[in-house]
């Protein structure tokens, strides 16, 4: 059997939808001069970058190209709540261990 790896980029599927055009992401490759042509059947999507950038894409391949570069269809949250959650867990764990140690000492 041939070993192949289908590493599907779900983010592209999720944000850009199904590719109904004949152009694929590999056609773009690393070509800086590639021109994205508007696809009349593609519904315009607005993408955002982490540094606050915003762009409207008019074809699936343009959308896929930007999404693979880290752009997304939702505005990046200005607050990283997951970091808050992380510190909340650290803080709670420390508090718990301190309180339980004091409690143990007191109980003894």
């Amino acid at each position: 059997m041939m070993a192949t790896l289908f590493n599907i980029d779900f983010k592209i599927d999720k944000i850009c939808g199904e590719n109904n055009s004949l152009v694929t992401l590999s056609d773009v490759g690393n070509n800086p001069n590639f021109i994205f042509r508007n696809d009349p059947n593609f519904e315009l999507i607005t993408l955002y970058s982490a540094d606050g950038g915003k762009i409207n894409v008019n074809s699936w391949v343009e959308c896929a190209n930007y999404v693979s570069g880290g752009w997304t269809n939702g505005i990046f949250p200005t607050v990283n709540y997951e970091s808050y959650f992380f510190y909340f867990l650290i803080f709670s764990s420390l508090t718990y261990s301190i309180i339980s140690n004091i409690y143990k000492k007191y109980a003894d």
């Binding site: 059997m1 041939m2 070993a3 192949t4 790896l5 289908f6 590493n7 599907i8 779900f10 983010k11 999720k14 997304t72 939702g74 949250p77 607050v79 990283n80 709540y81 997951e82 970091s83 959650f85 992380f86 867990l89 650290i90 764990s93």
Partner: protein, 663 residues
């Protein structure tokens, strides 16, 4: 103490409700009721309206279908992510987040387990070491199942780099969960196993994740079992790890994503080498965990029986409650950690079945049947009396059993009850044996009348026929399907085999069984094994499903013999790609485990099971009947692919082997 603990449970339910409804952030402006005119306003204000406020304004109308949307940022938890008009109704997507789910659901389940009485145990506590090992397994899974998690989490990245707070918070959460499992469950190790029937009620599957809380629990205890290695255990472990090495390095088509659907938390979503290694370890440790909890636990039949009845009652009860409202259905799904949402509505589906609370009507039918059987044992063999509440539980169980419409469970239930009835009431051995013979004759004669429209040759080829019928031959444009149809109609499998054996649309297993069926090298006094499987398949209405199994199962010889690894079903699914996205299981636990472990280990396990059953043959032992009942049912159901049924089967085999009377 009990009242205090119920208060803690009530508090944790309240906490989850408050968080899910988005109460902490439900202030702000008034909102307009949802209509076609206000729809755009709702759509443009994603993650701004809390679920609580939405419900307050719009109520729980049938027009709304609520669904969780896991692909949300953390600040969207408990808020309306998006609303989509669907025909005459609206699909309301409620934002959730992996980390908050992990926290809330764990708090709830740990609180419930906290209700169990503490007892001293003789097992030494090596907590820190085992906590670290357990949490590292499940943390690694978050990285190795990257496509599944990328699909479910908007900020997911498998790279361990600064700023990847989702992954680091996940690791920390898992570490804390295992820490509290150790803290809360270790001191309850003695009585935990008596509560396993509740696994059918509280699934323990985390929303958004391919992770089951109780799998973590059993893996944790599995490590403890490994601390007490003896010779036989060591040899089995070495053989298992050699097999694991084979599964990891074996050549296979790799698929990044398998839709786990109703098997979520107890199946791998990827078949890359690391996933196979981790899931193989998990399987090994789960089995060890179950064995440890049985060995160290205090078997208490009264308690176990009561838990069976209560669990069965609550499954039917919550199945009914969840059937009435989409919102309640979704809340129950979250709170109980179900693999799949309960059935909405009371209508029966294919095969006249109603699965209710459970992901599988077949599996839950077996469970209800077992509860009814144990109740029969208690009432008529042990001649004990039920209290009023237990009669009510029993009525609900009857209802669930009736609606699940599992005919195989009903027939086996009647079989074991008849067996016991005759054994207990007829003292004369000769008369009893005559009656057994009489009933067996009636069974054979009625079977003949049921099947007389078919010849043995017709039935024997049933599975092979369905296999070819469901194969992908029609995908090849050069193949004339009229000719294939003619060969199938004439049961000319020899021509089919010779003509199409070199096409890659016919699976290796289908080729093998066809070859065996038409082989001229049969031993004359023995029936052809494929013909026996085919006849059995037709008799129990499994010919089509088993045919589909063989059409799809396309292993190499070594994989067929030694399997593709526990919980790895991806190759079975995608190598022939027959199922078009829907999760169709093999409809036999034997076939399911052939995919996982291969023909040789499954044969060994069957021989071992037969050995245990015959060695411990005792018509006065409840465990004997239960193992008989479950084994017969597992031949035609996929129940062993579900965690609760897996635990239950292992539990009763172990009890039978230990000859520990559950009386």
């Amino acid at each position: 103490m009990q009242t205090k603990q119920y208060k803690v449970i009530a508090l944790s339910v309240l906490l989850i409700t408050v968080a899910l409804l988005g109460l902490p952030y439900s202030g702000g402006d008034e909102i307009m009721p949802l209509s076609n005119e206000t729809l755009l306003t709702y759509q443009s204000s994603s993650c701004e309206v809390s679920l609580f406020k939405f419900l307050l304004t719009n109520g729980l109308s049938d027009m709304f279908t609520f669904k969780f949307d896991s692909y949300s940022n953390m600040d969207c938890f408990g808020k309306i992510k998006y609303i989509e008009p669907v025909k005459d109704s609206y699909l309301v997507l409620v934002g959730t987040h992996t980390l908050i789910n992990l926290l809330l659901q764990s708090i709830f389940w740990l609180t419930i387990i906290g209700l169990i009485k503490k007892e001293k145990t003789n097992v030494g506590n090596y907590s820190i070491f085992i906590i670290l090992l357990t949490s590292s397994i499940f943390s690694s899974l978050f990285i190795t199942e990257n496509n599944y998690n990328a699909f479910k989490n908007t900020t997911y990245s498998p790279k361990l780099e600064p700023g990847n707070y989702l992954t680091f918070s996940y690791f920390l959460s898992i570490l804390l969960i295992v820490f509290f499992i150790n803290k809360i469950l270790f001191v309850r190790m003695k009585s935990l196993i008596n509560y396993f029937p509740y696994l059918f009620l509280i699934g323990g599957v985390y929303q958004n994740l391919n992770l089951n809380f109780f799998v973590i629990v059993f893996v944790f205890f599995g490590f403890y079992n490994l601390l007490k290695l003896n010779w036989s255990k060591s040899i089995i472990s070495i053989i298992y790890f050699l097999m694991t090495a084979f599964w990891v390095v074996s050549e296979r088509n790799q698929y990044g994503y398998f839709d786990v659907d109703k098997l979520r938390g107890f199946v791998s979503s990827s078949n890359n080498s690391l996933s196979i290694l981790l899931w193989s370890l998990i399987f090994f440790l789960i089995v060890n965990g179950i064995l440890l909890l049985i060995k160290e636990g205090n078997a208490n039949f009264e308690l176990l029986f009561d838990n069976f009845l209560k669990s069965s009652f609550f499954i039917v009860f919550f199945g009914l409650v969840a059937s009435f409202s989409n919102f309640i259905n979704l809340s129950i799904f979250y709170l109980f950690g179900q693999n799949k949402q309960s059935k909405l509505g009371l209508d029966s589906v294919a095969g006249n079945t109603w699965r209710g609370f459970s992901p599988s009507a077949e599996g839950i039918g077996e469970f209800y049947g077992l509860v009814l059987f144990i109740s029969f044992w208690v009432l008529f063999v042990q001649k004990r009396k039920f209290d009023n509440a237990q009669y009510i539980y029993l009525i609900f169980t009857f209802y669930g059993f009736f609606r699940a419409n599992n005919i195989a469970a009903l027939i086996t239930l009647m079989l074991v009850i008849t067996l016991i009835f005759l054994y207990k009431n007829i003292a004369d051995v000769r008369l009893r044996n005559t009656l057994y013979l009489f009933l067996a004759t009636i069974f054979i004669i009625s079977s003949y009348f049921i099947l007389r429209q078919n010849t043995y040759a017709e039935m024997g080829s049933g599975v092979v026929f369905e296999g070819w019928q469901n194969s992908r031959l029609s995908d090849v444009p050069e193949i004339n399907m009229d000719i294939v149809g003619d060969h199938l109609k004439g049961k000319d499998f020899k021509t089919l085999l010779e003509t199409y054996k070199n096409t890659d649309v016919i699976s290796s297993s289908l080729l093998a069984i066809t070859n065996t069926l038409i082989s001229e090298n049969n031993i004359r006094i023995l029936p052809n094994p494929i013909a026996v499987i085919g006849t059995a398949g037709v008799f129990i209405n499994r010919a089509e499903k088993w045919g589909l199994f063989f059409a799809s199962y396309d292993p190499s010889l070594s994989t067929a013999l030694l399997g593709s690894g526990p919980f790895n079903i991806s190759n079975y699914y995608y190598d022939q790609n027959l199922f078009d996205g829907s999760l169709i299981l093999p409809h036999s636990s034997i076939f399911s485990y052939v995919i996982y472990l291969g023909i040789i280990p499954v044969l060994f396990l069957i021989i071992y099971l037969l050995f245990v059953v015959f060695k411990n043959f005792n018509l006065n032992d409840l465990n004997f009947y239960v193992v008989l009942y479950l084994s017969i049912n597992l031949l035609k159901s996929d129940s062993l692919l579900y965690f609760p049924s897996f635990v239950m089967f292992l539990y009763f085999i172990r009890r039978l082997k230990e000859k520990k009377e559950l009386n």
